[in-house]
């Protein structure tokens, strides 16, 4: 019960790991590209959670800075990924990731 009542860094790390696993499962098993991209967002969020938890542990702000950079990257990734998705949908009329296996148009 002691573990439940006192929230330590490990709690946040376990939460981050669980979120990371969910994201990995989503990326590996889903066929819908949009949901695969969302699972990638889940993975990035898990990483962010760890970074901020560690920055709390060591009492600095460096982890938070990295979290901000990761969020920026997530924005860039989402923009390009969804752009590719739209181009793909225009050519193949599907958003099924299993059909993106031609390596050419």
């Amino acid at each position: 019960m002691e573990v439940m009542l006192h929230i330590t860094t490990l709690h946040y790390l376990v939460l981050g790991a669980a979120l990371f696993l969910l994201g990995v499962i989503g990326v590996l098993t889903r066929r819908n590209v949009v949901i695969v991209l969302m699972s990638i967002e889940l993975i990035l969020n898990a990483v962010n959670l760890n970074l901020v938890a560690f920055s709390r542990l060591w009492g600095g702000q460096h982890g938070q800075i990295f979290a901000i950079f990761v969020i920026t990257d997530a924005a860039a990734e989402a923009a390009v990924g969804l752009g590719i998705l739209i181009a793909f949908f225009r050519n193949k009329e599907t958003i099924n990731i299993d059909e993106v296996n031609l390596l050419k148009w």
Binding site: H6, L10, R31, M38, A53, R56, L57, Q64, A76, I95
Partner: protein, 169 residues
């Protein structure tokens, strides 16, 4: 400021995040997934607040929930999802997913059980009041170069997205 990192809120928010995450990867409809992801992101912003990182929490709300998710919703509306609803939702490599997940999970469990004693017992106290100022002075001081590169990355991403999504330039 009284400490707000109470166990109750931690478990509530973690439950919200995990349920949201599970819904993201199991929902058939992409819009429902997006809604679940928004719940996860907002709960995570609240957890950032508990970790005395209010600025990251605000960035999370502004950029993730207010920016990226709107982009996702836009794209979901542009692509026709009626067809994909009728298709099989999971691919045939679900066993790869299970193996990868158990492997990674086992790795995490091993690392955390072995390494949980290396963390210091007491977390260092951080002043929340000037969090934004400290983040700002780090961002525009020590991490100036990384900041500029991030802005360049965003520019590249804008151009890439426009080139990809536009029919004719």
């Amino acid at each position: 400021m009284a400490p707000i990192a109470t166990p109750f809120f931690f478990y509530l928010l973690s439950a919200m995040m995990l349920v949201g995450g599970i819904l993201v990867i199991t929902q058939k409809n992409a819009v429902h997934s997006a809604l679940a992801l928004i719940v996860t992101l907002l709960a995570q912003a609240a957890i950032y607040l508990m970790l005395y990182a209010p600025f990251v929490a605000a960035v999370q709300i502004v950029l993730y929930a207010g920016g990226i998710m709107v982009l996702f919703l836009f794209v979901i509306m542009l692509v026709n999802i009626d067809r994909s609803l009728k298709e099989k939702q999971f691919n045939s490599q679900w066993w790869v997913g299970i193996i990868a997940a158990t492997g990674l999970g086992g790795l995490f469990v091993a690392v955390y059980t072995k390494g949980k004693n290396i963390f210091p017992e007491r977390v260092l106290s951080v002043a929340e009041a000037d969090n934004t100022q400290k983040v700002a002075s780090l961002l525009y001081g020590q991490y100036m170069f990384a900041f500029e590169i991030a802005s360049l990355l965003l520019l590249v991403a804008i151009i890439g997205a426009v080139v990809m999504a536009k029919k004719k330039i």
